[in-house]
Amino acid sequence: MNIKRLNWPLWTGFLLTLAAFLTYFFIFVWFPFTRDFPWANLVLFVIAGALLFMGLRRGFASDRPHPVRSKIVSSLVSVLSVAVFAMFVFVIFFVGRSLPAAKGAPQVGQRVPDFSLPDTSGKQVSLNELLTTPINGNAPKGVLLMFYRGYW
């Protein structure tokens, strides 16, 4: 392929858009600093957007060897990239916030209701046992209950 003909800003911008989307879930979500607010990914999206803008201009330039094809390809790639960005915003800021309010959850200062559930060996374990069974010979100072969605 002739490097002069290749619309490299367009394709780099597109690949960077995909990277900006995927790196959140595979890399940045593991670090609180880049997870709680996805600024690193938004930076990547901005750079991708600038490249795509350059690519669009190049695609619509009058000196393209295949002007019609070039316009169509650069437009489609740009639209697709915007869709990927919109999807990212939707997943992080809208889907992520669709959690129930849990207004009836135990509050600070309240006693929590006791319960009994099977552990990984199927043995029933009660909260009272968890609060009293010694850790390394000492009575525990407390229990950190972590509810999570599952499917791991």
Binding site: P100, P106, K141, Y148, G150
Partner: protein, 95 residues
């Protein structure tokens, strides 16, 4: 530290055992298959499971030895979670 971490989800004991083995977790992981305790704590995310079942929304409670809640984290956004140092800060005050 003297704080016992305990995880709860609707996963079966077997699924939780696989999780513990793959991640090297040694703390208790409890199985609330029908989300009964999850509902009692008002933490059910209705119909949000893969097969439309009720699952737990993410939530953390630090409970002292008398069974009293000392700290809660009910995140409003799935992607924003408590940081370990937040819990450790409160845990230091427990006797």
């Amino acid at each position: 530290m003297g704080i016992r971490p305990v995880a709860i989800s609707i996963d079966t004991p077997e699924e939780s055992r696989n999780l513990a083995q793959s991640q090297g977790y040694t703390f208790p992981i409890l199985s609330d298959r029908n989300a009964e305790v999850i509902r009692r704590y008002d933490l059910a995310h209705t119909g949000a499971g893969i097969h439309g079942e009720d699952i737990a929304r993410p939530a953390e409670f630090l409970i002292d030895s008398t069974g009293t809640v000392r700290w809660i984290n009910l995140t409003e956004n799935y992607w924003i979670r408590a940081r370990p140092e937040q819990v450790l800060e409160v845990a230091k005050q427990l006797k």
